[in-house]
Symmetry: C2
Subunit: 337 residues, 2 copies
């Protein structure tokens, strides 16, 4: 795929470190379309150097504050950091906007940091795709660490965080029993557990509950939970036991230990071959997603809209079952290659 | 598609009202495979008569109790009811199992009721597909109303509930501020809001908060949030304002009003043309899903596993971008039609 000349120049500027070109490219790749696909194809060869850290946690865990503290710790060590904040857009919780204001005050003006907020309003599947494009762009732009921050309440958001190399799940003492059901599901994706607001009452109870959950074999499922039927020659990696860390992000307590745990997990991934396995899983998923999208485009490009609508109406009225309908449409989708 | 003789007989028995054949068919369609697709294709022409009611709510709202009470109210009026309970399988919350025990004690032994529990452990995409198959089977078996009960904590579960004709979101007083972010997202799919445990303190506060949220324009997005680019000739339906009802499911208070609200919404859907629009949207989504699955099967059937693995490895090592890789694989996927 050859990008348009204009976009090719944009990407060259991005690769040369132009911050404005980075922002414009991100806007370009956030939307699905031929320009976006061309840009991502051109950028792809420049990626694979960043370590991607997913951070997820329920509202009230102090997630944004912890991400800010972690970012400053990384900057202190000379790493550049890209932040992708995936926020549920809600007019009722000021949390996201407030977090952003604090973030901007703390981190703005540092050329070694780039922050992008993504809204969940609209299609969640589209959000996952747009987030992947933004991560890829920040990776190509040379950021050493990319932190993807999501609220751990929706499955799609959890899925986004779990595509990272290292996934941190943040808890906090005293969030109430109602969220236990959420926690149990989210725990399965954790490479590192952080109990933030650890100066609060009940912190030991929260840590013990997490230890118990981990001990009860929640970690028996694999990180991504997907089978790799056609994979060969990769042996199972030794198990990683997620450490449970206590942090007080507002006072920078435990943040250095969290950074060290992330880097320790990164070393483990590379040494065990698990990094390579996850990269291949990511490549396979990207390939399948792109093929499916290409087939859908062929459907709308090669079958007249009126014919699709006729078939849909017949399926809706039960005159035709969707399996037979798909069999009838498939030749038109496959034709003309 | 012609089903195997054995499965064809099974489906004939199901259509004749054989309960054992129904249970066996459900087990058949829960798993993806040629037999499942054949069975669903054969059943499809017999569907479209049931009204499907999605019920979603956070843990602690008394969701199962309300579904049981609603089921008994429907039975009292002579309707048959199928229940599909989608439970997050967690070793830490006894809620699901407890709810099932209460349910069984209350409702078992009535041939006009059929209950199926589905576990969320494993692939959530697979769960949505399996749930759709079970709903279709219960519809073909002649159940008048099908209630799909999901816990409103994961996006996938919310998506499952929102594929119903009428979606009920259950709230309860005093569940704490932490779940507000969840509520806001879930509210958008509600056709009816039920505040259960309405004998508790704070019920008016909860009702007022919901009224405020509804008033703030949360209902501006469409029910399913998807664009229908190639749809023609369907005009926008007049707006439906979700009623907010108070219930005490344990004492059967407000349950008849809830039933009437569901039937009122059903009448509205049919009178406004919205029912037809949703059925077409459902048909279109089913068609797309089946075509995408067919393409994936073609990929694994027509491209040697070693070749796929080579391409995946090249993408993982950044020697090839996934867009170019997909372009190279596409002819092999499209060939042989």
């Amino acid at each position: 795929m050859l990008p348009l000349t204009k976009d090719m120049q944009l990407i060259e500027e991005l690769l040369a470190g132009n911050r404005r070109a980075l922002a414009r490219t991100i806007t370009l790749v956030e939307n699905d379309g031929p320009e976006s696909r061309n840009a991502l194809a051109s950028l792809y060869g420049h990626t694979g150097r960043a370590h991607i850290v997913g951070v997820t946690g329920a509202p009230g865990t102090g997630k944004s504050t912890l991400v800010n503290a972690l970012t400053k710790a990384y900057r202190h060590r000379g790493f550049t950091v890209g932040i992708v904040a995936v926020d549920p857009t809600s007019p009722f919780t000021g949390g996201a906007l407030l977090g952003d204001r604090v973030r901007m005050r703390d981190l703005s003006g540092d050329a070694g940091i780039f922050i992008r907020s993504m809204a969940t309003r609209g299609s969640l599947g589209g959000l996952a795709q747009a987030t992947a494009g933004v991560i890829l762009t920040l990776d190509a732009a040379g950021f050493n660490r990319i932190i993807v921050e999501t609220v751990g309440v929706g499955q799609a958001e959890v899925d986004i965080a779990s595509t990272a190399h290292t996934t941190i799940v943040i808890e906090a003492p005293g969030l109430g029993d109602e969220v236990q059901a959420i926690k149990a599901g989210v725990l399965e994706i954790a490479d590192i557990l952080a109990v933030n607001k650890a100066d609060r009452d009940g912190v030991e109870k929260t840590v013990m509950a997490l230890q118990m959950m981990l001990g009860m074999g929640l970690r028996q499922t694999s990180h991504h939970g997907q089978t790799m039927e056609i994979q060969e020659g990769i042996t199972a990696s030794p198990a990683w036991t997620p450490p449970i860390l206590k942090t007080v992000a507002l006072r920078d307590e435990g943040v250095d230990q969290l950074l060290q745990a992330i880097e320790g997990h990164r070393d483990y991934l590379h040494a065990s071959g698990e990094f390579q396995r996850r990269e291949e899983e990511r490549a396979r998923n990207a390939l399948v997603h792109i093929l499916q999208a290409a087939v859908l485009r062929r459907l709308t490009n090669q079958v007249p809209a009126r014919q699709i609508q006729d078939v849909v109406a017949q399926v809706a009225s039960r005159d035709l079952d969707p399996y037979t309908a798909a069999e009838r449409l498939l030749p038109a989708v496959l034709a003309g290659n």
